[in-house]
């Protein structure tokens, strides 16, 4: 597959999700998505994964979805991060939590380190074709698979997709952000983990 002709701005992609998510949803973001999500305003049940071990956001989402089956868990992960832990796609579909949606924003580069191409990007590959994330998701057994290159169409469909029984896989073709930097930690990670743990435990006890 070649890079799609149309790519949506990352900001627009996340703005549509920001408007569609419910307050009780958990949204996990990493790297560039975490930076943009925090700028839009992260909710008290969100987890901007900063600092991170790159590629682990979908696995954290899997654990959260299993622990809180009555709550929607949405993970926004980069293409490079997804390639780091491809096995996570299989682990997710093995457990198959119906409340998990994995969104992969594909810009073909490691954006925050200077936009070097990933090994999955067309321009870094001997055959000039990018890897097929949709095909991977299908082969791994995701129940519902979606792809969007146009921000308007994504914005129109996002509510329906989040309401679809999962695990869901969404590929968003996004354009790299020129000169983008890594996300800055919004505060001590341990305190944020403790706060989220308490908030989710409190919410779970109300269910």
């Amino acid at each position: 597959m070649n890079q799609p002709a149309l790519q949506m701005p990352l900001h627009d992609a996340l703005l549509a999700l920001h408007r569609a998510r419910a307050p009780e949803d958990v949204v996990i973001t990493s790297m560039g998505a975490a930076r943009e999500w925090m700028a839009l305003g992260a909710g008290p049940l969100d987890l901007p994964l900063v600092p991170s071990s790159m590629g682990t956001a979908p696995s954290i989402g899997l654990g959260l979805a299993l622990a809180q089956p009555g709550r929607r868990v949405i993970v926004v992960n980069g293409d490079g991060a997804t390639l780091m832990h491809l096995g996570a796609l299989v682990s997710i579909t093995a457990a198959a939590p119906a409340n998990l949606t994995l969104i992969v924003q594909d810009n073909g580069v490691y954006e925050v380190t200077g936009a070097q191409p990933t090994p999955g990007a067309a321009r870094a590959r001997a055959d000039g074709s990018s890897v097929d994330f949709i095909g991977m998701a299908r082969a791994c057994g995701f129940r519902s698979i979606f792809r969007f290159s146009d921000a308007g169409q994504w914005a129109r469909e996002v509510d329906r997709i989040l309401a679809t029984e999962g695990p869901n896989f969404v590929l968003l073709d996004v354009s790299p952000v020129p000169g983008a930097v890594g996300p800055r930690s919004p505060g001590p990670a341990a305190a944020r983990a403790r706060d989220l743990h308490r908030a989710l435990s409190r919410e779970a006890s109300r269910d």
């Binding site: 987890l47 600092p51 991170s52 071990s53 790159m54 590629g55 682990t56 956001a57 696995s59 954290i60 989402g61 899997l62 654990g63 959260l64 979805a65 299993l66 622990a67 809180q68 832990h85 096995g87 996570a88 299989v90 682990s91 093995a94 457990a95 990670a189 341990a190 944020r192 983990a193 989220l196 743990h197 989710l200 435990s201 779970a204």
Partner: protein, 162 residues
Amino acid sequence: MFSGRAIAELFAAMGITHVVTIADSTIGAWHPAIEASPDLQLVRVCREGEAWAVAAGLYLGGATPLVLIQCTGLFESGDSLRNILHDWRMPIFAVIGYRSYLNQSTLPGDTCLVFTEPVLDAWNLDYRLITSSAQLSEIREHYDACRLAGKPGVALVAEGKA
């Protein structure tokens, strides 16, 4: 050294809800009993770096996970455990199989014996070495102590032939 049933009963008594795991020849023999336990949910992952992260999500969501992997998986998963256990300070407990500790006939000179304990020390993980079946209760004692202290911990369980 331990039967699957003994391990499953132990984990259930510890209050564990989810066992996040990859099999080896010792741990894999425990899986059926863990899976059969009404108190435990077995969560299979493909690589050990995932295991710490899945456990982190379970913990954040109010569950009580345990990571069950071999020492080779400990070696593989360093950055993930660094992030989860040290950056985010989540008190995840792990039972880690110590390959070849009791028997090196399959892998003479297995370097797992050289590196496992220094690696645990390097990651500042409080571990208890379990080398005999009489020490089953020590796994729970160490778990309870770590839980009380709000810190991660490891029961390093000696294994036989690889």
